[in-house]
Subunit: 417 residues, 2 copies
């Protein structure tokens, strides 16, 4: 094994933040402090954007009590970016790396970040410049390839499951139909986590729609009506990414409908695509109201950014694993003669436990589809309107303990009258 190059390391954060992405960052910082091969650790402000602009934090000099506070803080403490560098952009990154004598690059992000890491890595290899590139996974969508699951997912899933516990109780207290739109454009893992809320046989969500299956308004209305007949109420979890059978997202279809109407708001008819989420919820409510005349009380919510940013609902396992992948990135940079992405491996065991391994960057950011992971078919029911209990075995340990609730057993009038 070659001894590692001595020099500067850069760490950055990219993409949509999570509540544990700073755990990974602090994992990198603390592990770096223990290692002799990294002389200086620079934190790129707003990811690759901070690299090309040479805007860095000096992360070697931060006191440990402050680091622990940063670790438990949601969102990206270095700032994040949506920049998706092309080759020219990657060349600018590499130029700065040379100038600053950067020998290690730790990039915390999704598959776009793994892709960037890969391109920069290749530039360095072509130039025979010694550079180690380690990608550290994060995403609440849980859709990265290879890794068993992604840091960030467990906490977002805990938020969703907790929220559904409260929402189901609310829906019991004041009966009706409640529709919740959840994050997940292509993968339904976060929406599927709503089933962790179920404790009693009649607990919601009673229907769960993932982007992995085509969504039909007719089927949806008929499903809702059936559940409403059965339970006197109906709680629904729907991914924001649901699409029709041609693959056109419903959020987009609703925007198109809006464009036709009075919400056409500028000369070019531009309505932001993000406009779809809140309106999708309202649209689905309106559809149920129009098609299910027996249902009087209808509400819809879009959980939105709270799923990735709410500060007091972190999964302990998720926080620990996010720290772990950060630490392991530094350890791999020392020991292994390769670049790559840190993957979590679920170990065969009666109780939940994980290990990590370093996988090639192209496995996480391949040239050809599939680029991301979908919820496996095994977890989705045949009708495509629910998630099976087997999903609990997968997601439950990542979320950890959920709020405990109590209720009165039903007592008939005769018993008390």
């Amino acid at each position: 094994m070659a001894s590692p190059a001595s020099g500067t390391a850069v760490v950055g954060q990219a993409g949509g933040p999570t509540v544990v992405i700073n755990q990974s960052l602090v994992g990198v910082i603390q592990e770096t402090q223990k290692c002799s091969h990294i002389k200086r650790l620079l934190g790129a402000r707003h990811g690759v954007r901070g690299i090309i602009n040479e805007q860095f934090y000096d992360l070697m000099r931060q006191p440990n009590n402050m680091l622990e506070l940063v670790a438990q803080t949601p969102a990206a403490a270095l700032g994040s970016t949506r920049d998706k560098p092309d080759v020219a952009y990657c060349e600018r990154i590499f130029d700065v790396f040379r100038k600053q004598d950067v020998r290690y690059f730790f990039y915390i992000g999704g598959n776009d970040s793994a892709q960037t890491a890969q391109v920069v890595n290749k530039l360095a290899a072509d130039a025979k410049y010694e550079l180690r590139v380690i990608h550290i996974p994060k995403t609440i969508d849980n859709d990265l390839l290879v890794t068993d699951h992604c840091p960030g997912y467990g906490s977002a899933a805990k938020f969703v499951a907790s929220a559904f516990i409260g929402d189901d109780l609310d829906n019991r207290a004041l009966k009706g139909v409640k529709i919740n739109i959840l994050m997940g454009r292509h993968a339904g893992f976060l929406t599927a986590a709503s089933i962790l809320a179920r404790q009693r046989p009649d607990d919601g969500p009673h229907l769960v729609y993932l982007p992995e299956r085509p969504f039909s308004i007719e089927q949806f209305c008929s499903d809702v009506e059936r559940m409403y007949q059965q339970f006197g109420r109906c709680l629904v979890a729907i991914s924001e990414g649901i699409a029709d059978k041609e693959g056109i997202p419903w959020a987009q279809k609703v925007v198109v409908e809006m464009k036709k109407g009075a919400m056409e708001i500028d000369d070019h008819g531009n309505v932001p695509l993000s406009a779809g989420a809140g309106s999708l919820a309202d649209y689905l409510c309106a559809m149920v109201k129009a098609n299910c005349k027996s249902i009087k009380r209808l509400r819809a919510d879009t959980y939105g950014y709270l799923q990735r940013s709410f500060p007091s609902c972190t999964s302990e396992v998720d926080a620990w694993e996010a720290r772990l992948v950060g630490q392991m990135a530094v350890i791999y940079s020392l020991d292994a003669d390769q670049d790559g992405s840190v993957a979590l491996v679920r170990l065969p065991s009666t109780t939940y436990s994980v290990g990590t391994r370093l996988v090639a960057l192209q496995e996480v950011a391949p040239e050809r589809a599939p680029f991301t992971k979908a919820v496996p078919d095994d977890y989705i029911n045949e009708a495509g309107n629910n998630v099976l209990n087997s999903f609990r075995d997968y997601a439950g340990p990542l979320v950890g303990e959920l709020p405990k609730v109590g209720w009165f057993e039903q007592v008939s009038q005769k018993q008390v009258g």
Copy 2:
């Protein structure tokens, strides 16, 4: 002082649930168990609806460990109702009370519930039937008259403030404009609580709009653009109840716009009023996009029902006070020769402390406006687009500790380059 009548008590829950309304219920149950004047405690299922249908839980026989679990459970464990009884409905309630020998009625709810309590009380007085009626306040809106604040508000405010801490960090990480719509149709207390999230001078929310002031789209867009120029980003808190200067709610105006367009969804052109909330967020986003060309990244969320139902964000003070008002209702039923509503009184003290007093039902549910409390003028800035720091003194103690966050001090390129 007359010795209290011996007999059955009924307790019920009404209106929108909160995360601590079951604390009040358990306060009533536990205190009743200590008192000899109440022989039997019936829990009305779904409030007054359960009374007229004679659907009750027997609450004397519930074990204490289960009661403690119920107390920490969000939403109404007895079920809630939106029924607003007229006199005929109240007569049916009174008929059941006579039939079941009910001598005590504890009703946990907002001002509608106080109104119902008042009518039933009068029926009993007219019939010379001995009935003690005690209203126990709850509402996340915090808009009940007389009481310093309402049980339920502190926890909802804690949810909002916590959410804004996370959302502000997210908005720092990926800069842009973020608009959050919060509950509160007529009173802006919950929206005002968003300012508790601020820790650093440039923390959001940067703009706060309450229903207590007219809302103009032009002024709003100009405010957002100015803040965006100043901070490079802008986080906004807006009450769902904002109205134009004629008093027409914007949520309703958006629905009207939708009706004109493609969302006209049934033969009668009915769109549910609740459709407005999610769409209002999207509409405001679209307006900013149309009017502020320099702003590229825009997002909006509607916090929705999570504000009143999220299970793991309860304010300790709020939980304690909700329990207290339930307990005190039973104690007042024993000691005082009057019916009424339990009010919280803030005591003059260097540290926060409260007492309770029983006030007349007509003070909480008066015949003439104002029927509810608004955010006092003193807390709103002159431009009507922000809440002053003095509001922290009022709301801070009700919310209690908020999540702690950490950050890196900014380091210039030169220092590290």
